[in-house]
């Protein structure tokens, strides 16, 4: 089984609201003191793939599209023991969404050859569009299942499980297939071993330009035209919390209970 996993580097979503700032001209978050990290759902996808490497000997390739710094997410993937890592470098385009990412990733996948399962994160912790995986499937003309948390190989293809608003669905799929992966208790990303981290820095990492995958800056700018960010701001909070008062804890509890009951009675 050959698996390809797409990884996105993002601004650390755990940065505290106090340290979170916007670049109002570029209409995106300012890096500030925040770190760049691998998007968590991409790591859930990676872990899902690596478990298939451990169980059925799948060969795992990781691909990222991003600036030179995105090499870090691929070095980490190598330390987690993916078999191959490929960076498609983006040095020019500041702001791009899932339309651009998906066309670049699909071009890289075409160049890399055939895969049985292509895995992406369900959404990224920055823009949270949740579209790249579905669009990669469209670009490659493959079937797609979203919100998958388990992939089991079976004779005819795979059996995948995906999360829905009412629980889980079990889906029988043919191959090849694109899935977007969400987290569950079983795909918490592994911590790479120190020795593997050291080794990962010396491992081969393929680095391609946009031209290497048959695209150009112009061609991908064109594919970005569908939507446009016209404003980005930090919302003002106008809610003022009324802290329930009272002379004693009993009074406060009584008042709090009363407020709850008042709202419930209006429902």
């Amino acid at each position: 089984m050959k698996i390809l996993v797409c990884l996105k580097q993002i601004l650390d979503p755990e940065v505290s609201p106090r340290d979170f700032e916007l670049d109002r001209t570029k209409l995106r978050a300012a890096l500030g003191s925040a770190n760049l990290v691998t998007n968590i759902f991409c790591e859930n996808a990676l872990e899902t793939a690596l478990q298939l490497k451990d169980s059925v000997g799948a060969e795992v390739t990781a691909v990222s599209f991003g600036p030179a710094e995105a090499e870090d997410v691929l070095r980490k993937a190598l330390a987690m023991r993916v078999d191959h890592a490929v960076l498609v470098r983006n040095s020019k385009i500041d702001q791009f969404g899932s339309a651009v990412s998906s066309s670049v990733l699909a071009a890289a996948i075409r160049k890399l050859g055939d895969f049985d399962v292509i895995m992406l994160g369900r959404e990224a912790g920055d823009w949270g569009e949740g579209q790249t995986a579905g669009l990669v499937a469209e670009e490659l003309g493959l079937p797609f299942v979203a919100f998958v948390d388990t992939v089991e190989p079976v004779d005819s293809g795979t059996k995948v499980y995906r999360q829905t608003e009412i629980g889980r669905e079990e889906i029988a799929t043919q191959l090849p297939l694109v899935v977007s992966v969400t987290n569950n208790a079983a795909n918490v990303p592994r911590i790479p071993k120190t020795g593997d981290i050291m080794k990962a820095h010396r491992q081969e990492l393929t680095s391609w330009s946009l031209e290497d995958v048959g695209l150009s800056e112009d061609s991908i700018r064109q594919s970005a035209g569908g939507t446009e960010i016209v404003d980005l701001f930090i919302p003002e909070r106008d809610t003022i919390c009324e802290f329930i008062s009272g002379d004693s804890i009993d009074d406060r509890l009584q008042n709090f209970a009363q407020r709850i009951v008042d709202v419930v009675r209006r429902v």
Binding site: L135, V145, E169, I244, V267
Partner: protein, 321 residues
């Protein structure tokens, strides 16, 4: 005539989500000066009967390949239906199937897709979507520059539409689903929680977080919820710790809920959690830390350890009712 299409997947029923979706499409059609066409891939009677009160046309798809167990057949048949309707916009709900197909439908219709819409505006004829980004720390206004804009919305956050005087006719449209519709097929469905009410539809929710420090307090939370006709939910910390099932998760990566009352207990209020409750009417919180972010997002709160609160609160609430 140009149209705004509201799209209903095979399993859609006439619930709050459907009302919100019909309402959003009615408003958008008015703002754009187009007609509103409801396209139903399923055949839920109540949905069809009510859709005719809120749209210019209601179309029931007739498609031999269409199946509620085959996601690819839904995408393909909805694509075929939308193609003939001169759509300016196609609106979908926030269920997993709608989210899954929205970007692909946008691509197949040579338009664009935007997800998780919390508000829709039409400015100078252009469709603008308000959505939370950066884990709820910021808000973006995204404009659709290609047509149609395929948008999945936080359906329950949108107001339902007033009933029309003239009922729309119920039409049947025969379409063919092309491509390999058997590539993926649902072979089983498992409901995880023991409650029949979906969190998204609950009007009262009692939610617990990291502060509860274990699975046992959630039993108490359940008892409290029962007293006020509510459902129990949880934040990511409680789900990740394995204290409750993942389908109770509320937040950016869980459910987006819209209750009349949301009681947050032992939840600090990370922006990712707040993203899931931004449509709640009243938020109340119990937390030991008066500086916890949750207090900046709630109407009233109690600074207290939950251990001293849940028991007495249950007693007092049952005494009042």
């Amino acid at each position: 005539m140009a149209s705004v299409i509201s799209c209903f997947l095979p399993n859609a029923e006439y619930d709050r989500a459907a009302k919100g979706l019909l309402g959003a499409a009615e408003k958008m059609a008015q703002d754009l000066g187009t007609s509103h066409v409801a396209v139903c891939a399923g055949s839920a009677e109540r949905l069809l009967q009510n859709a005719v009160r809120h749209a210019d046309r209601v179309i029931r798809l007739q498609c031999a390949e269409l199946s509620a167990d085959r996601p690819e057949s839904c995408l393909s048949s909805l694509h075929a239906a939308c193609e003939g309707l001169d759509a300016k916009a196609v609106l979908l709900g926030q269920d997993a199937w709608s989210q899954e197909l929205a970007p692909r439908l946008g691509r197949r219709l040579n338009g664009c897709a935007i997800g998780d819409a919390q508000a829709i505006e039409v400015v100078g004829g252009a469709i603008r979507i308000t959505r939370s980004v950066y884990g709820g720390k910021a808000v973006a206004i995204v404009q659709a520059n290609t047509s149609p804009a395929v948008v999945w919305i936080r359906d329950r956050a949108f107001e339902s539409a007033a009933e029309r005087e003239m009922l729309a006719g119920l039409e049947t449209l025969a379409v063919t689903a092309s491509g390999n519709v058997d590539a993926t097929q649902v072979t089983g469905r498992h409901t995880q929680s023991d409650s029949d009410v979906r969190l998204e539809d609950a009007s009262v929710i009692v939610s617990g977080g990291r502060g509860l420090a274990g699975p046992e307090p959630f039993e108490e939370l359940k008892q409290l919820a029962v007293l006020i006709n509510g459902e129990v939910a949880a934040s990511r910390a409680a789900v990740d710790a394995g204290w409750v099932a993942p389908d109770l998760l509320v937040g950016q990566t869980g459910k987006k809920v819209a209750p009349e009352l949301y009681v947050a207990i032992g939840i600090s209020g990370a922006s990712q959690h707040l993203m899931g409750i931004s449509d709640a009417k009243v938020v109340a919180a119990v937390n030991t830390d008066a500086d916890a972010p949750i207090f900046k997002h709630c109407q009233f709160g109690l600074v207290e350890d939950w251990k001293n609160v849940i028991g007495p609160l249950k007693a007092r609430i049952s005494a009042m009712s």
